[in-house]
């Protein structure tokens, strides 16, 4: 074949920046069937499939792309679902540029195939045109009963996989809604909640029972779950405890943790206040501290809630920013300013308990630290004041200790994370498994899903052995 392959990928249509900052609707509009087929035609079907190795769950990427190129979108969706039960989400939020697309052969001489955008297209196509969900048999409890704690991507994928394996699964969630970070953290304009709902419906149709408003550890303890007859427990409780920098002024009015800000906006729909009851307050000039996805989401949410000017303050340089490239670009397009190599030292008060400014210091990069990134060092006497009235702190989270401190003897790491085997999810306590952010600290949706799925097989093996049914 001598068809010339374009060096550039087909861009996904997006809402124009000046329109989208006034609404909470999804920014990226997704491919049309024509665009998807054209993009799929760029894939050269490398025999060694380097892209597959870049995907944490090992989707057969060339195979599904081949089906897209032929126009068999439902077939492609099916192919993806062999490995990934939540493709509509991963296609949207995976950091593709550092995973599957990073190793795509085409990336060597131009832009890689837009694998994420194609995955998203297939999942969306199937949602609209596919067969309606058939109610599957409710799994009987004869093979065993498993309690899954937390309904984030780790818990959802673990529950789904266990249901497929024939277990009776009860999924416990402490909030009034499922999804974990997918629901309370990632905003509607990046991941519409109707998609999360759809995935949860799918899991319910597999026979998984979902119990909301149950805080495992207090409403019911893990010991009680075992007494109730559960054979195993999976902990997928995430890394939800925000930490603060510990600088003066962090408790002033107008300072939010990103978790509070995003939870109010997303889970509680405060952007629809007063139609919804939960209030949110955002001033005219907002500083967001941090450089990850959480910082970008907070900044873009603040803009949509009416802030005039939003500045992201990050202590390293642009290349070290952990946020997805696409989201940094989206944020800049929307008018968000990046203030790099700057670090806050204190937040100033207006005399009545509210924020009136933030003092920052300039930084330079020194030698690499243990994370491999160059360590930021303050430049003496370079302080300056940023004129802001709202500060959102997005500097990271720790595992929530609420549940794990109630399990006596559970082995924990230095930062309070649960220690679990990467391949099976096994903890040091027989029958207790764990995966996702609670084990790794804040990571990615696809990593959490992968861990949940592996743990499901670890649990299967454990229960079979326990019941003397071998492998």
């Amino acid at each position: 074949m001598s068809v010339k392959i374009s060096k550039e990928k087909h861009e996904m249509p997006k809402q124009p920046a000046d329109t989208r900052i006034k609404n909470f609707e999804e920014v990226a509009l997704g491919y049309t069937p024509e665009l998807a087929m054209a993009e799929a035609a760029r894939c050269i079907q490398c025999p060694k499939k380097p892209c597959v190795a870049g995907c944490p769950v090992g989707i057969d990427i060339p195979e599904f792309i081949k089906l897209v190129a032929k126009g068999d979108f439902l077939g492609a969706a099916k192919k993806i679902k062999e490995k990934n039960s939540l493709p509509a989400m991963c296609g949207r939020v995976c950091p593709q540029e550092s995973q599957c697309e990073a190793v795509c052969t085409l990336g060597k001489r131009g832009e890689p195939v837009a694998i994420g955008a194609l995955e998203r297209f297939c999942a969306d196509y199937e949602r609209i045109h596919g067969e309606p969900l058939a109610e599957m048999k409710t799994s009987d409890s004869s093979s065993g009963m498993v309690a899954v704690v937390g309904s984030g991507p780790a818990g959802l994928s673990c529950a789904s996989e266990l249901a497929k394996l024939g277990y009776r699964v009860v999924l416990f969630e402490s909030l009034h809604a499922t999804g974990g970070v997918l629901r309370y953290g990632i905003p509607e304009f990046r991941l519409p909640k109707s998609i999360v709902d759809k995935e949860v419906e799918y899991i319910k149709s597999q026979g998984v029972e979902i119990r909301l408003n149950v805080l495992v550890g207090t409403t019911v303890t893990v010991d009680e779950l075992f007494e109730q007859g559960f054979d195993a427990v999976f902990l997928g409780t995430g890394a939800g405890l925000p930490y603060f920098l510990g600088i003066p002024g962090e408790n002033l009015n107008g300072v939010y943790s990103a978790n509070e800000f995003l939870t109010r906006a997303n889970l509680m729909k405060a952007y629809l206040f007063p139609e919804y009851d939960t209030p949110i307050w955002v001033g005219k000039r907002v500083a967001v501290i941090g450089g990850g996805n959480v910082a970008m989401d907070s900044a873009r949410t603040a803009l949509r809630l009416g802030a005039d000017e939003v500045t992201v303050v990050y202590r390293r340089s642009r290349t070290e920013m952990p946020a997805r490239l696409e989201e940094i670009e989206n944020a800049e397009e929307e008018g968000i300013k990046l203030m790099l190599l700057r670090n806050p030292v204190r937040i100033l008060e207006d005399g009545e308990g509210w924020v009136k400014g933030m003092e920052c210091i300039k930084m330079e990069l020194g030698k690499p630290d243990d994370s491999g990134r160059r360590r930021p060092i303050p430049i003496p006497d370079s302080e300056f004041i940023l004129d802001v009235d709202t500060v959102i702190s997005a500097v990271g989270t720790n595992p929530n200790p609420l549940l794990i401190r109630t399990i006596s003897g559970l082995a924990l790491g230095r930062r309070g994370n649960v220690i679990a085997d990467e391949q099976t999810g096994k903890t040091n306590i027989p029958g207790i498994f764990a995966g996702g952010d609670i084990v790794t600290g804040s990571a990615t949706v696809i990593a959490a899903m992968g861990a949940g799925k592996l743990a499901a097989h670890g649990i299967d093996e454990y229960i079979r052995r326990k019941n003397g049914r071998g492998m």
């Binding site: 402490s174 207090t218 962090e250 009015n253 009851d277």
Partner: protein
């Protein structure tokens, strides 16, 4: 869904409901609370567990109508349901037998102090209760508190019942006279808890307060409820709500309670104007 099985009006704007919530009742201990959401569009609101009966599975909540959500809750009647409720939340109070405690309750704060007074009283601790309200009419839980107290004093702002003035004045008198209790527990409006802590600090008497910070999840995930205690930031939904009153930065907390004042007023005005949907028909 959580069904309201009993409802009682205790005083103007102060109501008691009993909710069918056996799972929460089973493990509830004094000092703990629940977070609930009335309906799909509601906010998440914390209320202390004023009583819980594991046998009947009934959870008692006592609340004062101060804004939109509590007013809306007050409109619900026996048989109505609350959409979501999670609990028990917060660190339970470690209650062991002491020789003597003083329980200071202000306004609707008498209800959350009741389970603690009851627990002490049952252990044989001498319990002296000081109950303050704006007026005689606003005084709640009088009989219940009498049943779990060795001695009880009252105050009203207008002098319509008991001492005329603040309940913290009665506390000051008692401590002045002595003997001193092992512990003072104060629950009520922030200003009252701050004042009670000041009074007890004079006499060096240990004081426990229960903080009503603004919360969202109630499980340690958002940091909305943070307070400074002994110069350290604490999440009161997890490490509290009870703290050493001498170490709490009350001034900061009082300022933080006003974070959403404008929005709360708007929500209330809109609700009263009927946009919230009239339930009369």
């Amino acid at each position: 869904m959580y069904r309201i099985l009993e409802k009682e009006v205790l005083a103007p704007k102060i109501k008691l409901i009993k909710v069918d919530a056996p799972e929460i009742c089973a493990g509830a201990r004094p000092g703990q609370f629940v977070v609930f959401r009335i309906h799909e569009k509601g906010e998440r609101i914390p209320l202390t567990i004023a009583d819980s009966d594991p046998k009947s599975g009934l959870l008692t909540l006592v609340f004062q109508e101060v804004g939109k959500s509590t007013t809306e809750l007050g409109m619900l009647n026996k048989g109505d349901t609350i959409q979501d409720m999670v609990g028990p939340l917060g660190t339970p109070r470690d209650i062991e037998k002491l020789d003597y405690v003083i329980c200071v309750g202000g306004g609707v704060g008498v209800a959350p102090i009741y389970p603690e007074a009851k627990a002490y009283y049952r252990l044989g601790t001498r319990v002296v209760s000081l109950i303050g309200a704006q007026t005689k009419e606003m005084l709640i839980f009088k009989n219940r508190m009498e049943q779990v107290s060795d001695e009880i004093y009252f105050s009203t702002d207008d002098g319509s019942f008991g001492h005329k003035g603040f309940i913290t004045e009665v506390l000051d008198d008692l401590l002045e006279k002595g003997p001193h209790p092992d512990e003072v527990i104060a629950i009520g409006p922030l200003l009252m808890m701050r004042e009670a802590s000041k009074v007890t600090a004079k006499y060096g008497v240990k004081t426990v307060v229960s903080l009503n910070t603004i919360m969202v999840d109630g499980t340690g995930m958002c940091g909305s409820c943070r307070v400074t205690v002994d110069s350290e930031v604490k999440f009161s939904c997890v490490e509290g709500p009870a703290f050493d009153g001498h170490k709490v930065d009350f001034d900061e907390l009082i300022a933080r309670q006003n974070r959403f004042l404008a929005e709360e007023r708007l929500a209330m005005d809109r609700y009263l104007a009927g946009a919230g949907g009239c339930k009369c028909q």
